[in-house]
């Protein structure tokens, strides 16, 4: 879907991206990870065709967005900063963008409902709180059912509850619309809940990219499951027998199970087989943060 082939981007003397190469396949939710100034926004703007690579080529569905402006019609974009016209009512703004895409008012109403802005459509954007302005941003990015959503720091400058709401909203959108997403953030735990693919970038260099399952295995990151069962003791006895299980810990009425990430899939299959015993389970691990740290550390060691 997206391919960066030896891409460099310079702004004057500053080199924001240095010969960067990576790919992002279809139907993934990609965590675009890196500290501030790593080159995340530059990469996203290159995907949108707002910037021209100084060197190399960016492909989006086989086309160069820089040359083929039509590619943008298949992408929804949420910019990093709230750049919306503050003097316009929410509905008027969304109606205008919808008209540019030849969409009807029905489409506008649908995204308004989807992001929960029904009661604020007549309000001027400038009078909304940061959290709701971000919802306006997400609403405009969803217009026209894009195949790919590019969300640049969707939770930046939001308070914790607004951040939570936005993450829940993105999870719902992915579940309901099955849309591919590229989400940048320097707050890693947030992305962990939705991402299944990652591109890790630092100082304009792509340190690593790939499916999270593969990256966990590659960097030997521990995977932890929280399992709710009808019989904690019985479930613990079955699980501890498995050779790839590191430990089983009882936490209130649940089990915390640490496994070798290479057996992630087979462990999930086991839990499905034990559906009579297992009520539900969640994948709870700090692995994305751990992964990021390991990748950055190994990247800096390589550069030394």
């Amino acid at each position: 879907m997206v391919e960066f082939r030896e891409v460099s981007k310079k702004f004057g003397k500053v080199e924001a991206l240095k010969n960067i190469s990576f790919t992002i396949p279809e139907k993934t939710v990609t965590a675009f990870l890196g500290p501030n100034g790593a080159g995340k926004t530059t990469s996203m703007k290159l995907v949108m065709g707002f910037l021209k690579p100084t060197k190399g080529v960016v492909f989006v569905w086989g086309e160069e967005p820089w040359r083929s402006e039509g590619v943008r019609s298949r992408i929804g974009y949420l910019p990093e900063r709230p750049v919306y016209p503050m003097d316009i009512a929410v509905e008027n703004f969304l109606n205008h963008l919808a008209k540019l895409k030849k969409l009807s008012k029905i489409d506008v109403n649908r995204v308004i409902r989807l992001v929960g802005l029904e009661n604020l459509v007549d309000r001027k954007i400038g009078t909304l709180s940061r959290g709701y302005i971000q919802r306006v941003g997400i609403a405009q990015s969803l217009l026209g059912d894009p195949e790919l959503l590019i969300l640049d720091e969707p939770t930046a400058n939001l308070d914790p509850s607004a951040r939570r709401e936005i993450i829940e909203l993105l999870k719902t959108l992915h579940k309901e619309l099955k849309v591919s997403m590229i989400i940048s953030s320097h707050i890693i735990p947030e992305l962990q809940e939705i991402a299944n693919y990652a591109v890790i970038i630092n100082s304009g260099i792509a340190l690593e990219y790939g499916y999270l399952n593969d990256l966990w295995r590659k960097y030997e990151i521990e995977a932890i499951f929280i399992i709710k069962t009808v019989d904690v003791e019985a479930a613990a006895r079955i699980l501890i027998d498995k050779s790839y299980v590191h430990y089983v810990k009882k936490v209130s009425n649940s089990l915390e199970v640490s496994i070798d990430p290479e057996h992630y899939k087979s462990f999930e299959n086991l839990l499905t087989e034990l559906s009579g015993l297992i009520k539900n389970y969640t994948f709870k691990t700090a692995s994305l943060g751990d992964l990021y740290e390991k990748v950055v550390k190994s990247g800096s060691q390589e550069s030394v």
Partner: protein
């Protein structure tokens, strides 16, 4: 280029921006109409009437320049990305902003000429005699729009605003001095300098150039300068129009490559 999208974004920009200047536009249109009633009913255009019309044209030029310079703000703030992300191309964006900021005010001003003259002297409108000033006024407004658009599209709001606000005042003033200098100096070097300035500045404000040219044509006492050596106002206006189109074309070409 999708003209439907251009029209859509032009309407949006006019509704959002130009409506704030509605009162100014209405007052200026009324002044224009009142001044035009005199020549419409047979009174020759004197210095007072042409002065009023020049002031109105200056205010319209400043208005156009201020509107266009806001493009720079949309570029630097990143607001433009929202419109481009919703399939508007770069060329469609620039064209729609030009139409909203130059074409719409110009259309209003031209309408006030046509309506007034149609009421006051329909015969002279049909013959085209009373609409002659428009031939010079529209390219004059376009020149200011093109030069402001060039800097605004580079993201230089400060330069675009300063130039856009200063040129409408400085150009007629400087051209008047240069024209007067050329027509009233006998010293060959000064005459040469004033001549060059008159030609260059005339390209930038063809409306003022035409007014000055016609005024000096009607002066009966002997003058030092030779009016026939200067470009004919129509030729000057055509050259100005060509210059504006060249600047706008360059703006479009450079904007296609600009990092946003």
């Amino acid at each position: 280029m999708d003209l439907r999208k251009v029209f859509e974004h032009t309407t949006y920009a006019v509704n959002r921006r130009l409506l704030a200047y509605t009162i100014t536009i209405i007052v200026m249109s009324i002044i224009t109409s009142l001044m035009l009633l005199f020549p419409g009913y047979g009174t020759p255009i004197d210095v007072w009437i042409s002065g009023q019309l020049t002031i109105v044209s200056i205010i319209f030029k400043i208005l156009i320049a201020l509107q266009i310079s806001r493009i720079a703000r949309e570029i630097t703030s990143g607001e433009i990305q929202l419109y481009l992300a919703h399939t508007l191309t770069r060329s469609e964006y620039v064209l729609s902003m030009l139409l909203a900021s130059w074409f719409t005010p110009t259309l209003i001003l031209v309408s006030s000429y046509i309506v007034t003259f149609t009421i006051a002297a329909p015969n002279l409108v049909i013959s085209g005699e009373l609409l002659k000033p428009l031939i010079h006024l529209v390219p004059d407004l376009l020149f200011i729009a093109s030069i402001t658009l060039f800097f605004a599209s580079r993201g230089r709001e400060g330069i675009a605003t300063t130039i856009g606000a200063a040129l409408p005042i400085l150009l007629p003033l400087s051209l008047s001095i240069a024209f007067s200098g050329y027509m009233n100096t006998s010293h060959p070097v000064y005459t040469q300098i004033f001549y060059v300035f008159t030609i260059v500045l005339g390209l930038m404000t063809p409306y003022t150039y035409n007014l000055l040219y016609v005024n000096y044509q009607n002066i009966s006492y002997p003058l030092q300068g030779n009016l026939s050596k200067l470009a004919n106002p129509t030729l000057n206006t055509l050259a100005s129009l060509a210059l504006s189109i060249a600047i706008i074309t360059l703006t479009f070409v450079l904007f296609k490559k600009k990092d946003l």
